[in-house]
Symmetry: C2
Subunit: 334 residues, 2 copies
């Protein structure tokens, strides 16, 4: 019962078209791929036959014989986070410029999803670029010999290439700016749930130390606006003296901004806020968000460029060139 109609309807192949048009496979191939060495009338006849039969070439058969289609996998923790969206958009654009295809995977910020993803991805793409939090061993195990470019992560081995995000100077400038405005109690909303302290935290700590202010006013925050709000609440509960806050990223900062408003704290008068990432979103909120800004466009393009070099066997970029530096961009919030 039901509606599926009996035996599988065998795929329409190039043979069928050839037979229908009364020519050979090769002639069909010529017609379809726009080669010459074919008469116009013949070409038209083949094209008509192909349309008639609803023929579409098998990408597998084609890919098998010509090695020219490359597909790269892009893995992001959360597409709904605008930062990753910006990076993805940049990567997409860079890939399109090279005629490559990009399949996107969202790991929902869970390490388990990462290896699950790698498992299926491993056999479906020619190279991988993206964000990973799982161990290098796991990473290697499921990508065996595939070119890989990690973003915002320092690999221990030469097995992986990586794009480094360097915010040291930018964060120092941010802290300097806050200190210059008279702030001495500067808090931070750091990423929560990671084992090691984040590099951004370390940059903050170093910068605070350099300016002689306390670097211990830290609370954790989940990677979301709500997380930022909750984080700010927690931070202020524990350290009411805080007058300025640096956040792990802009999403968290925007949440903090909103929470400050709810708490009746005027920004930047009662509380200065500086985020990290420099998202376009920052210009939409009130007051506009100051941020240690990253060139996401360059980040995505760089990743694609490097993965391309690994793929084609060209000279890969040096680690020194694989860096995206963040710089302070001031707006109304600090």
């Amino acid at each position: 019962m039901g509606s599926s109609s009996g035996s599988e309807p065998r795929r329409v192949t190039i043979h069928d078209v050839a037979r229908s048009a009364g020519v050979s496979r090769q002639t069909v191939s010529r017609a379809l791929n726009g080669k010459d060495e074919i008469e116009v009338s013949t070409k038209q006849r083949v094209l008509d036959a192909a349309r008639e039969l609803g023929y579409r070439p098998s990408r597998f058969a084609r890919g098998l014989v010509r090695q020219d289609t490359t597909t790269i996998g892009l893995v992001v923790p959360d597409l709904l986070n605008p930062f990753f969206t910006e990076v993805a958009a940049a990567a997409l654009e860079a890939a399109r410029a090279r005629g490559w295809h990009v399949v996107v995977y969202d790991t929902a910020d869970r390490a388990a999803e990462e290896i699950g993803t790698l498992q299926v991805i491993g056999t479906q793409v020619d190279a991988v670029v993206g964000y990973f939090s799982c161990s290098e061993d796991e990473l290697d195990q499921f990508t065996r010999g595939m070119p890989m470019v990690l973003i915002d992560r320092e690999p221990r081995t030469a097995r992986f290439s990586a794009i480094r995000i360097d915010g040291e100077e930018g964060v120092r400038a941010a802290v300097a700016h806050l200190v210059g405005r008279g702030h001495t109690r500067i808090g931070m909303l750091d990423q929560v749930g990671r084992a090691a302290p984040s590099p951004r935290r370390e940059w903050f700590t170093a910068a605070a130390a350099a300016h002689g202010v306390d670097a211990g006013l830290v609370a954790g925050a989940a990677q979301s606006a709500d997380g930022g709000g909750a984080g700010l609440r927690a931070l202020l509960a524990e350290h009411p003296e805080v007058t300025a806050v640096f956040t792990f990223n802009d999403i968290v900062a925007v949440g903090a901004l909103r929470e400050a408003r709810r708490l009746g704290r005027s920004v930047p008068r009662d509380l200065a806020v500086i985020g990290f990432d420099g998202l376009a979103l920052g210009a939409l909120v009130e007051p506009p968000l100051s941020s240690v800004a990253l060139d996401t466009r360059r980040l995505g393009a760089l990743a694609i460029d490097q993965v391309g070099r690994l793929l084609t066997g060209a000279e890969p970029l040096e680690a020194a060139d694989l860096v995206v530096r963040a710089e302070l961009r001031l707006a109304g919030s600090a």
Copy 2:
């Protein structure tokens, strides 16, 4: 001259692994794919040999013989617009649940890119879902017989399936709400640059007429926050009496919100704003954005579901089921 090392290093095939391990192709295949009918020690030997040689199976050869890997193409006008990002994320998730792969293409909101995209996509995916503005003829010409699901577009022929966005009721509720608050001069910021008036504009016109208010207070706006700002400025310049505005989408609304602030108009006291889409972004701005909200998650899932049915030959969903209804969600801005 340069660094590329002479002749192409022939690909490592299953034969090489077989020879190296002293077994047959089939045994290698068994080992790699985790089938049984193979001795443990043999399996290990094969696995070692494979790793040793850096072997990775060809997805083309594999795909050719087993028909089980399906890839669908997702085409969006602008990944940086959070609305499309939300849809994309939902589609990605739905596809992953089925074990399908999704390659994403960004057409940069240009019709020329659309057919360029279709051209390359046509031979690389099994089905397409997405947003298109080009003609159905062009659409058909480059997708010839491929299952297609169009989003937010009413196809004239049965060649295409489509997900309809129905905001009629939601927009009517929005206008009703504004009228109930005493607004009689309600403007709209419509999409600009399209030939025909947008359905959202028509819903607005009908709703305004139903409530006996002028529906002619309309200005165009580009699809961005800046566009929304400029649009509001233009609208108020021409119709200073406007006290409320409905926008084509939330991005435009957020831009209008910002512009209102700059113009010294307090929202919602001096100017009420209601957007369309119901983005998460709306909750981040001040005041929070009222919006005729769409369930983007359902939208993406629905599209994938339908394309899956077309692909597998299952009973496709009726047009009546392929609808996402928008409903008014009130917040602070109106």
